[in-house]
């Protein structure tokens, strides 16, 4: 699944580690999410959306 996490993170000048701290996950998780290799669970997706104050659909795009 495509997502805009890397762009959103860059806009705020956060490192992967910064974002990981804010979401209480590891940096590996952020890396796997940004590269689209891992899709988050619904609770984590909501947490990400709340952090960026955006809707889930504006962060994650379904390719189907």
């Amino acid at each position: 699944m495509k997502n805009r996490l890397k762009v959103l993170r860059a806009e705020r000048d956060w490192s992967q580690a910064d974002l990981a701290d804010r979401l209480e996950v590891s940096r590996q998780t952020i890396n796997a999410l940004e590269t689209g290799k891992y899709d988050p669970s619904l609770p984590l997706a909501f947490k990400i959306a709340r952090l960026f104050e955006l809707s889930i659909e504006t962060i994650f795009q379904d390719e189907a």
Partner: protein, 193 residues
């Protein structure tokens, strides 16, 4: 990461691995002397393995170890240290013929307490880890290790049934599971790099 860093990091990795192998070899050599040295050697292998895990994390991940993993390493380290001590004690008592009577049961069961503790520590980690990606990866490697161990046990068991393979003690399942898990984790880590 810049290109100049890569060979240096590979060299560090190799150095760390050699240090780990040497610490294990040294511990085994020390244990050879018997008596107290057997305990020192046993604990040395546990200490060597744990420092390898901690140092490789510090050198290559550049990230603090999160608290569920810290608790896991502590529990696992305590369990494996207990295992090393209990195993050496049980073997030396057995060699003196003390495992023959009814006392043989607690002596024979003692080493397994440490191993059961180590198995439980993985269960606790899985329950306490809040990072869903880490949990998913661990679950996947546990499933691969289960499949690998069951497959080898089945094939070996039938070979043994028909007299085509020597008898292997059942506790071999745990180190075999650990090897499969390590292989699976290496493959999974590569996939998400």
């Amino acid at each position: 990461m810049s290109e100049t860093v890569a060979p240096k990091s590979a060299l560090k990795k190799l150095g760390l691995f050699i240090a780990f192998a040497l610490s294990i070899a040294f511990s085994v050599w020390i244990a050879h002397f018997g008596g107290v040295w057997a305990y020192v050697g046993g604990l040395g292998t546990v200490a060597g393995s744990l420092s390898f895990a901690l140092l490789s994390n510090r050198l290559f991940r550049r990230e603090k170890i999160r608290s569920p993993m810290r608790r896991y390493l502590l529990r696992f380290g305590v369990s494996m240290s207990a295992y090393a001590i209990l195993l050496v004690a049980a073997v030396s008592l057995g060699q003196r013929g003390l495992a023959d009577g009814p006392w043989g049961y607690p002596i024979a069961l003692a080493p397994s307490v440490g191993v059961l503790g180590a198995i439980a520590s993985i269960g606790f980690y899985l329950a306490e880890e809040t990072d869903e990606f880490a949990r998913a990866n661990l679950t996947q490697s546990l499933l691969w290790a289960t499949a690998g161990t069951l497959s080898v046990a089945t094939v070996w068991g039938f070979l043994e049934t028909f007299g085509k393979a020597p008898h292997v003690l059942a506790w071999v399942a745990v180190p075999m599971f650990a090897v499969f898990m390590g292989l699976a984790q290496a493959v999974i880590a590569r996939r998400y790099r």
